[in-house]
């Protein structure tokens, strides 16, 4: 097959983390709520109601646009996007058209180990639609149920230029975008719950200079499905071109269960949304002081943080990448370092054990029972060699489940600190006396015998001694023996 040139652009919608809706005071915490319990005349489109803008939603949208290095258009004009569907009670969605919040931005992300840059075409703010339910216990089959709880929740739409060139790129861009919206606190970016949604435009061309035919793919509900849908679309279009068939512009829906995209409507039938300025909302200008204030409060972003972690804490790129993906994890790590300045040692524990426990409990660090101080109480004991790494791991698991302090878990588990060297020395002597053969083996150069001896001490202490301390004592005792026996023969 000849070489193909793949071009992808993504449109992402993120629900903004406001407590109230975009143009009314209804709450936004709709997941699991009774249908139509977070509604009012404004978000149900009842006659005579008027929208009033939520200041916080605008601020979050501006913050998003600024973070994506957009040029901010301080003139705010809302437009009506007209379409007819029962999830939209007014018959139009309040959105932005020729004056979005921001234009011409960029976003940098790591794609397959390489730093890549995507141009952001526009960032605008709009309101979400309601939800339709087609099957329910009591809803007749010839009917649909409408729930307006989600209707009017503020969204930002982030549109890229067609700068992505593989399904992997698309996935990595999305991962970075989600990480960023979480970092700056504008959205929880949860794709499975629908607070982050993604549509893709994909085209395949046989020549580098010309663009192929634009196909829009919708209905992808996870990062995995974005990747798989684009992979499917790539091979479908490749096959079409190889067979000399003509591609045509269309909208296709990703069918998760069958793993295919299905054509829904030709683009030539595309709807005319009849955009016009919403006369209910006054056009206005965002004051420069507000813009300055938002700009000066932008936090450090994932890539910057990663580079700082690599430089300041001498972490590898892989280690830093894992730590910075979630801002709360990065903060957790940095709080730990304040308690004990051993970044490598702590990073290692956070990346392996902390993440493993969070994963097992399906928690994120913010909602876990472990605080940096609690983890560090434990890790300081490991650092002082009072307990072994193996014991610490099992103590940590318990701490994650119960939220108890390290000391309490250790007491509960009956683990005593075998850090008393005098006591350990006694046991070591005893082991040396009981294993003359191993001593002889060791002295004749068999290093393995030392591990056997450490094992024996651990057995007697039921694993409660620190292997490091045991090893030190053994080394001390055995070098004394060695000096009695004379220098070891080379072998």
């Amino acid at each position: 097959m000849e070489k193909c040139y793949l071009t992808i652009g993504l449109e992402v919608h993120c629900q903004l983390l406001t407590k109230a809706k975009m143009f009314c005071r209804c709450g936004t915490d709709y997941i699991g709520k009774e249908p139509n319990s977070l509604v009012c005349p404004v978000c149900m489109g009842l006659p005579g109601s008027l929208p009033v803008m939520n200041r916080k939603a605008m601020e979050l949208a501006i913050r998003t646009a600024m973070t994506l290095h957009c040029e901010i258009l301080p003139r705010v004009i809302f437009h009506r996007k007209n379409y007819f569907y029962p999830d939209l009670p007014k018959g139009y969605q309040i959105s932005q058209f020729d004056f979005p919040i921001g234009i011409n931005g960029t976003l940098e992300f790591m794609g397959q180990g390489e730093k890549k840059k995507v141009r952001i075409k526009r960032v605008h703010v709009e309101e979400d639609a309601g939800k339709l339910v087609h099957e329910g216990l009591n809803i007749p089959s010839e009917c649909s149920g409408v729930d307006f709880n989600r209707c009017g929740i503020p969204l930002v739409e982030i549109v890229t230029e067609p700068d992505l060139h593989s399904p992997e790129d698309a996935r990595d861009y999305l991962t970075m975008l989600r990480s960023i919206v979480r970092y700056i606190g504008v959205s929880d970016g949860n794709m499975e719950e629908g607070s982050l949604r993604c549509d893709a435009n994909i085209s395949l061309s046989l020549t580098e200079k010309t663009m192929g035919v634009k196909v829009e793919v919708k209905n992808m509900n996870s990062f995995r499905s974005v990747y798989h849908a684009l992979e499917f679309e790539l091979s479908r279009q490749q096959k079409c071109l190889a067979e000399g068939k003509k591609l045509f512009p269309e909208t296709r829906h990703w069918d998760e269960t069958r793993g295919v995209t299905v054509s829904s409507r030709g683009k030539e039938e595309a709807q005319d949304y009849r955009y016009f300025p919403d006369p209910d909302l006054l056009p206005h200008t965002i004051e420069q002081v507000i813009l300055n204030d938002i700009q000066s409060n932008l936090p450090e972003l994932p890539l910057e943080k990663k580079e700082r972690f690599m430089f300041d804490y001498e972490l590898t790129e892989t280690e830093a990448n894992v730590l910075v993906q979630d801002c709360s994890l990065a903060n957790f790590f940095e709080s730990c370092i304040k308690e004990l300045n051993k970044p490598k040692f702590i990073a290692n524990w956070v990346i392996t054990e902390v993440l493993k426990n969070l994963n097992d409990l399906r928690q994120d660090i913010q909602h876990s029972k472990i605080t940096p101080a609690a983890l560090m109480d434990l890790l300081k004991m490991v650092d002082r060699k009072e307990i072994s790494g193996t014991i610490a791991k099992s103590v940590l698991e318990d701490m994650f489940q119960s939220g108890a302090k390290a000391k309490d878990v250790i007491a509960k588990k009956g683990i005593s600190f075998m850090s008393n060297e005098k006591e350990l020395e006694k046991i070591v002597h005893q082991i040396i006396e009981q294993n003359p053969q191993s001593i002889a083996d060791y002295l004749s150069g068999k290093e393995k015998a030392l591990h056997f001896l450490i094992g024996q001490v651990m057995k007697v202490t039921r694993g409660q001694a620190s292997p490091e301390i045991v090893k030190n004592i053994l080394n001390k005792e055995l070098s004394a023996e060695r000096s009695l026996c004379g220098p070891r023969e080379p072998f």
């Binding site: 005071r25 209804c26 149900m44 200041r55 409408v146 307006f148 006054l282």
Partner: protein, 101 residues
């Protein structure tokens, strides 16, 4: 002279507005709408090159809401006016897009 609206464009507008008309009605609209459009020729005689488009007569700081949710007490009343409510859902005739089938 501005370009006139064709009968096909009028049919398209009707379709987008989810309205259906008889042939006679469409022909009447053809006459009416074209006379409205012709009226804009008068406006086009003015030189407006230095005037920016007006999307609203007011350009001032609009009222805005703080981000504090408030419950609206009237929802039962809305339910009472709805043609059908089941399990707190408003019931409408089945709407499944071709794409969702």
């Amino acid at each position: 002279m501005s370009e006139k609206i064709s009968l096909d464009e009028i049919k398209k507008m009707a379709q987008l507005s989810k309205l259906s008309f008889s042939q006679e009605e469409l022909e009447q609209f053809f006459v009416d709408i074209n006379s409205v459009v012709s009226h804009f020729d008068k406006l086009n005689q003015l030189d407006l090159s230095d005037v920016s488009p007006t999307s609203h007569i007011s350009w001032s700081q609009p009222p805005s809401n703080p981000d504090e949710p408030r419950e609206w007490p009237g929802r039962q009343e809305v339910f009472a006016h709805a043609p059908q409510v089941i399990d707190s859902y408003f019931i409408v005739p089945k709407v499944v897009d071709k794409q969702e089938e």
